[in-house]
């Protein structure tokens, strides 16, 4: 296992508001990690910096030794928290786009996963239900042969069956060289699948532990501990 992600004193200010307050963090390969925090805690800010969509005010972030840029975009597969694809496009057009765009994209795997859901390649994205649109987006991300998968709120706003689908897709595509970082506030649904959790609040990391350590030390689930830590 090697270090895949490192943050050093990572800080982000929006005007006078400090969204990330000098975060230090290290993630290894081969892990499924939950980035957990209430709304406005800094989860999406951190993920956007990781993907080069925002620049930090201070501090550094390294993905496999590189700062966000061309090199890291090759190895990071990112699922944003909203649908960013042109909904006028057909599934096939989107798959073709991803094939052109990412050298590590596996169209055969994408079609295989789409076929299992009964989503035809000819159908236009806008005619799909919200749940199916989100599944297509997840499939596109998971069909890459990336080193770091970053999923921003992949299970928010989907029905329980879709949630199960998302979770089994993540397990199915697990590989020991890669890591998956999942941000969510719906902890109870996902904690069994996580190796490690990171609690983030007001731009600070308040805890980084394995799920079994948390259960062992506290005699309660991560979900319950979360509710205690973030009670207000």
């Amino acid at each position: 296992m090697s270090e895949l992600l490192r943050c050093e004193n990572l800080t982000k200010d929006y005007g006078g508001f400090r969204a990330l307050n000098g975060i230090n963090l290290s993630l290894e390969s081969g892990k499924i990690v939950g980035l957990l925090g209430p709304n406005g805690s800094g989860k999406t800010t951190m993920i956007k910096i990781l993907n080069g969509l925002l620049t930090p005010t201070a501090g550094k972030i390294y993905i496999n030794g590189h700062e966000p840029g061309v090199e890291t975009k090759k190895i990071v597969a990112y699922l944003p928290d909203n649908i960013y694809l042109g909904t006028w496009m057909s599934v096939k057009q989107i798959v073709d786009l991803f094939t052109d765009f990412y050298a590590d994209f596996r169209p055969d795997l994408a079609y295989d996963m789409l076929g299992r859901l009964g989503i035809s390649a000819e159908v236009k994205l806008k005619t799909l239900s919200k749940g199916n649109k989100e599944k297509v987006c997840l499939i596109l991300v998971m069909a890459r042969n990336a080193l770091l998968y970053v999923l921003d709120e992949p299970i928010a706003g989907v029905d329980p069956a879709t949630r199960d689908y998302v979770i089994s897709t993540i397990i199915n595509n697990y590989n020991p060289q890669a890591s998956v970082l999942i941000s969510t506030h719906l902890i109870s649904d996902i904690e069994q699948v996580l190796d490690e959790v990171i609690f983030i609040n007001n731009g600070n990391i308040v805890l980084q532990k394995t799920v079994d350590e948390i259960r062992e030390e506290n005699g309660k689930s991560v979900d319950e501990l979360f509710r205690e830590v973030f009670r207000w």
């Binding site: 089994s168 069994q192 799920v211 309660k220 319950e224």
Partner: protein, 121 residues
């Protein structure tokens, strides 16, 4: 076989326990091949690393063994599994009796409750 897991206890020992019970009660036979790490992770809805850790722990206890490049297999004998399950049962019984003591019941009285327990209840 159901993979019902308690949300408040660590997952790894729970997987070990469930597999141990399956070996002890003959659901898994000696030298039978176990499901792969990924299959079991999907089935139980847990992290593949946790399944791997559970297998390694059961291997250390001598309950299962691994064949390089092939997978994991149930051990030759099931004695050790039965012993382990027995230990768990004794521990749970002790916990139960402890709970009853807190309710003011001594062990003979608690026994009487169990004897009179209607299984339909």
């Amino acid at each position: 076989m159901e993979w019902e897991l308690d949300k408040n206890r660590p997952i790894c020992p729970q997987l070990c326990e469930l597999l141990c019970v399956q070996i002890a009660n003959g659901e898994l036979k000696p030298n039978q091949r176990l499901k792969s790490v990924r299959e079991l992770a999907l089935l139980a809805g847990v992290n593949p690393n946790t399944v791997q850790k559970s297998f390694e722990q059961l291997e250390r206890q001598g309950l299962i063994y691994s064949v390089r490049g092939t997978g994991w297999f149930v051990g030759e004998t099931t004695e050790k599994a039965k012993e382990t399950v027995n230990e768990i049962i004794r521990k749970k019984t002790a916990e139960y009796l402890d709970e009853m003591r807190k309710l003011g019941l001594d062990t003979p009285t608690a026994k009487k409750y169990i004897e009179e327990w209607d299984t339909d209840e």
